[in-house]
Subunit: 161 residues, 2 copies
DNA sequence: CTCAACGTACAGTATTTACAGAACGATAAA
DNA sequence: TTTATCGTTCTGTAAATACTGTACGTTGAG
C-alpha cells in the first residue's frame, strides 16, 4: 500500500512535476512516483489505479510509456493474467543516457552548420564551434562517466532482479 | 542575408526540431537557427521575419524567450528604434547548465523519498539511493565540468563582444 | 504636427495533448 | 459454458499550445 499519507502524496506529485519538466505526461510521473516508494516495489495496474485514483487507460498507457523510457519494467508475478511493474535497476542512468544522446544530436547539426560557413571568417564560425565543442564534450566525456556510474551501480547493487 | 539556400533552410529546420525536442517552441528554434549561421551575426526582428516568413508577433516573443533562456542576447545597433539579436557567447553552456539544474532537482526529491522510507528494508531504499547517487553525481561533477568548459571557452574566445 | 516604422500586447484559431470512460477481446475460475 | 476480471484500444473532451493577424502605444523622420 502506498500513497495514503500526505508525505507520500507530496512526493508523488513532486516526481510528477519533475517528469513534466522532462517532457513526460504528468500521469507518467505519478506512476513512476508510486513505484519509487511502493512496498512491495512491484505493483499491479489496479494497485496503481487505486492509489492514484486515475483511469485504467491512463495508467496502462503511461506504464507502457515508462517501460519504453527504460525507467520501469514488467515484474514477474504469481497471480496470472495481471501485470505488475516495478522501477528498473539503472533506470535513471538509462534515462540520463538517452537525454544526453538527444543533446549530442546537436553535435552533428553544428558540424553541418560549419559546412555552410566553410571558408567564411573565423568570427562567423565561432558560434558553431562553441556548439561543436560543448556537445562533442557532452557526447564523449559524459558518456564515459555514465558507463562508469553504471559499473559502479552494478557493483554496489545487492538487489539482484 | 540568410536562409535562401536549401542547405541553410535545412539547417534551420534541424535546429528547430532539436529545440522542439528540448521543449521549446519550434519557431524559437528557427530563430535560433538563423542566428547561428547569419551574416552578420546580429539580425533585426524584421530580418528574421523576412527570412522565416513568420509573423512579427511570433518572432518577437520567441526572441524574448530565447533571451530568457540565455541563448541569444540583444545586440547594440546603429539604427535607432530597431532591435537586433545575436547568438550569445557561452549560450550553449548556459543552456546545458540550466538543464542540468532541472535534472539535479531530482536529487532533493530522492532525499525526501528516502525520508519516507526511513527505517525500512535496504532493498526498498535502493531505488531512491540510485536516484540520489546519479543526480548528486550530475549536480556536483557535471557542474564542475561546465565551469571548466566555460573557462576554456573564454580563454579561446577571440570574438570579444 | 503628421506620418511611417517598429515592437508589443491582445484576440482568435487550429492543432496537439492528457486524460476519462466505454467497448472489446482474452483468459482463468466456477 | 458461463461469468468475472484484467489489459488494451478506441472515442470523446477539456485544456494547453503555437502561431497568425490586428490593434495599440511609441518614437524618429519629414
Amino acid at each position: 500500500m502506498v500513497g495514503k499519507e500526505i508525505g507520500e502524496r507530496h512526493f508523488i506529485e513532486d516526481v510528477a512535476l519533475f517528469c513534466e519538466q522532462m517532457g513526460l505526461p504528468r500521469m507518467a510521473g505519478r506512476v513512476l512516483g508510486v513505484l519509487l516508494i511502493s512496498d512491495p516495489p512491484a505493483q499491479s495496474l489496479n494497485d496503481l489505479c487505486d492509489c492514484l485514483q486515475a483511469s485504467k487507460s491512463s495508467v496502462s498507457s503511461m506504464a507502457r510509456l515508462l517501460v519504453g523510457e527504460g525507467l520501469i519494467e514488467p515484474a514477474p508475478c504469481l497471480v496470472p493474467r495481471r501485470d505488475y511493474f516495478r522501477f528498473r535497476d539503472g533506470g535513471w542512468l538509462e534515462f540520463m543516457r538517452r537525454r544526453m544522446e538527444v543533446m549530442a544530436g546537436l553535435h552533428a547539426i553544428a558540424d553541418r552548420g560549419l559546412e555552410i560557413l566553410e571558408g567564411r571568417d573565423e568570427s562567423l564560425r565561432a558560434r558553431l564551434e562553441e556548439a561543436h565543442d560543448v556537445f562533442e564534450f557532452v557526447d564523449s566525456e559524459f558518456r564515459g562517466w555514465l558507463e562508469w556510474m553504471g559499473k559502479r551501480g552494478k557493483r554496489t547493487a545487492k538487489t539482484g532482479r
